[in-house]
């Protein structure tokens, strides 16, 4: 099954409540996916680069990391530890060097960008949200996922969202049937999935199309041509939020829009606590149709 949620604010009035609203949405989808949960949230832009990292042994892995990175880069680095994750504030242009360092130390990079932070773990959505303090987070938009594993193991890395380029992430309900072939094609283009998960292939696909110059709408259109299988994708970029369903559209989806926000949920239940939902325009996204918003 899996459950997807997404919330894109059109105005700033709800910014302080983004994490709180998304947490309620995520928890309401627990029945659809109790294996793991994750959320990507687009908050305040940092001056340099933000990178979210993860370790199964954070006490050990994050000890002295700030100092080591300071020394490595010769520039100030800040680290905020949040449970098994940490968000690093890094100087611009240091991403490749820091990624190489993390890889050497066996620390996982969940995502990077100017505004995106990404938190995901195995466990019930309510526990995952509370471990990372998602309710307290502010921001302009975010997407979340509750997973019922089908295509790969129940692990932290198998949890969604998947981020395969700066400030980009994707969540998926469904299963892709041509992900192995696509994986090879994307790797040739330099977008190499890090896991065996089919969803990461879709995330890499979007990243590759955006890197080629497509806009978010065009990249989502491309999934209808090039990806085979059942899917409902919800994608976040630095300024955008997009939705697409395959032509058969058997994976559920419902959307709500008001003057303040656009919301996506696998079921209407996800919207029950949104402000002004009684007067929202509510509709089911059409199959093989791209919807996206940018601010």
């Amino acid at each position: 099954m899996c459950g997807i949620v997404g919330l894109f604010l059109k105005k700033d009035d709800l910014r302080p409540r983004l994490g709180d609203l998304l947490t309620d949405m995520l928890i309401s989808m627990t029945d659809r996916g109790p294996d793991s949960a994750g959320i990507a949230i687009y908050g305040d832009e940092s001056q340099g680069l933000k990178m979210t990292i993860q370790s199964d042994t954070p006490d050990e892995a994050f000890k002295g990391l700030e100092d080591n990175l300071n020394a490595l880069l010769g520039a100030p680095v800040r680290m905020r530890v949040v449970d098994t994750h940490a968000v690093l504030s890094l100087p611009e242009g240091s991403e490749a060097e820091v990624r190489a360092y993390m890889s050497e130390k066996g620390i996982r990079v969940m995502g990077a960008g100017q505004s995106m932070e990404i938190f995901k773990e195995v466990g019930l959505p309510k526990d995952v949200a509370s471990r990372f303090g998602i309710r307290q987070m502010a921001g302009s938009h975010g997407i979340g996922h509750t997973r019922m594993a089908t295509e790969s193991a129940v692990t932290t890395l198998g949890a969604h969202p998947f981020s395969t380029d700066d400030d980009q992430c994707l969540v998926h309900n469904g299963s892709l049937s041509n992900h192995n072939r696509m994986r090879r094609e994307l790797a040739r283009k330099g977008f190499v999935p890090q896991t065996q998960n089919d969803t990461e292939v879709a995330a890499c696909y979007i990243s590759s199309r955006l890197a080629e110059g497509a806009n978010l709408g065009e990249a989502l259109e491309g999934t209808l041509e090039d990806l085979d299988g059942f899917f409902t994708f919800v994608v976040g970029t630095k300024n955008g939020f997009g939705v697409v369903r395959d032509p058969i559209a058997c994976k559920p989806a419902v959307m709500a829009e008001t003057d303040s926000y656009v919301a996506f949920g696998s079921e209407y239940r996800a919207f029950a606590n949104l402000p002004g939902i009684e007067d929202a325009r509510i509709w089911e996204p059409e199959p093989a149709t791209v919807y996206f918003w940018e601010r």
Binding site: P252, E267, Y268, R269, A270, W283, E284
Partner: protein
């Protein structure tokens, strides 16, 4: 629903023999007001999740919001009226009664319907009335791809455009008896539309018996 457990609510309603009931704060809950077997009048104020008013017999269920997948699935009799939109497979396998959707219904509306009458004021999605056996599907708006694929004897009336017809579904002549059936359904569904504006679709009955030449239809 903010205070009542779903099982308590459904078992309370299932035990009634009549009366008017209002369910507040449905908050998209699944399986609301299912298995009713008496002429109750139930109003659900808001939007529901999956399988609302499933297996209904005799009850009149009115939803003021939208409904999730499988509304009025396997309905026997009575009526279900939805003010908003309906998600996938609305009225699937229904044996009787009337389902009215005042908004749009999405894919597979009336799939395998077996005698139910469905009136959709808006549009319906792809693969609607797939393998529909009997009953009437009335659509005031447009129909999506593959309408009436592998249709048996259900009658389909569409006022708007049909994107494509499914295998063995053809347009048929609108005879006086069909106009009469349609006028009655429109009136019962509170739809202000002229029966003469509709086209009728039905089964070409070519798939009733196996014929190797039809293998290409699939």
């Amino acid at each position: 629903m903010a205070w009542t457990e779903l099982r308590d609510l459904n078992s309370t309603l299932q035990a009634q023999t009549g009366g008017e009931w209002v369910i507040e704060n449905p908050r998209g809950a699944h399986a609301l007001a299912v298995g009713l077997q008496a002429p109750l009048e139930v109003t659900i104020k808001g939007s529901t999740g999956y399988y609302c008013a499933g297996m209904n017999k005799e009850a009149q269920v009115h939803v003021t919001g939208s409904v999730g997948p499988g509304v009025a699935e396997n309905m026997i009799s009575g009526s279900v009226v939805v003010e908003g939109d309906a998600s996938q497979y609305a009225g699937a396998t229904g044996h009787g009664g009337l389902l009215v959707v005042k908004g749009n219904a999405s894919s597979r509306c009336g799939i395998s319907m077996k005698g139910i009458n469905i009136v959709v004021h808006g549009n319906i999605g792809h693969m609607s009335a797939f393998m529909a056996q009997s009953g009437n599907l009335v659509v005031l708006g447009d129909a999506g791809d593959a309408l009436g694929d592998s249709l048996y004897e259900a009658r389909l009336f569409v006022r708007g455009k049909v994107k494509s017809l499914g295998a063995d579904c053809i347009e048929k002549e609108m005879r006086p008896e069909h106009l009469e059936i349609l006028a009655d359904l429109l009136q019962r569904a509170g739809a202000d539309a002229d029966p003469s504006e509709f086209r009728r679709y039905g089964s070409a009955r070519k798939l009733y018996n196996f014929h190797v030449d039809h293998a290409g239809d699939y």
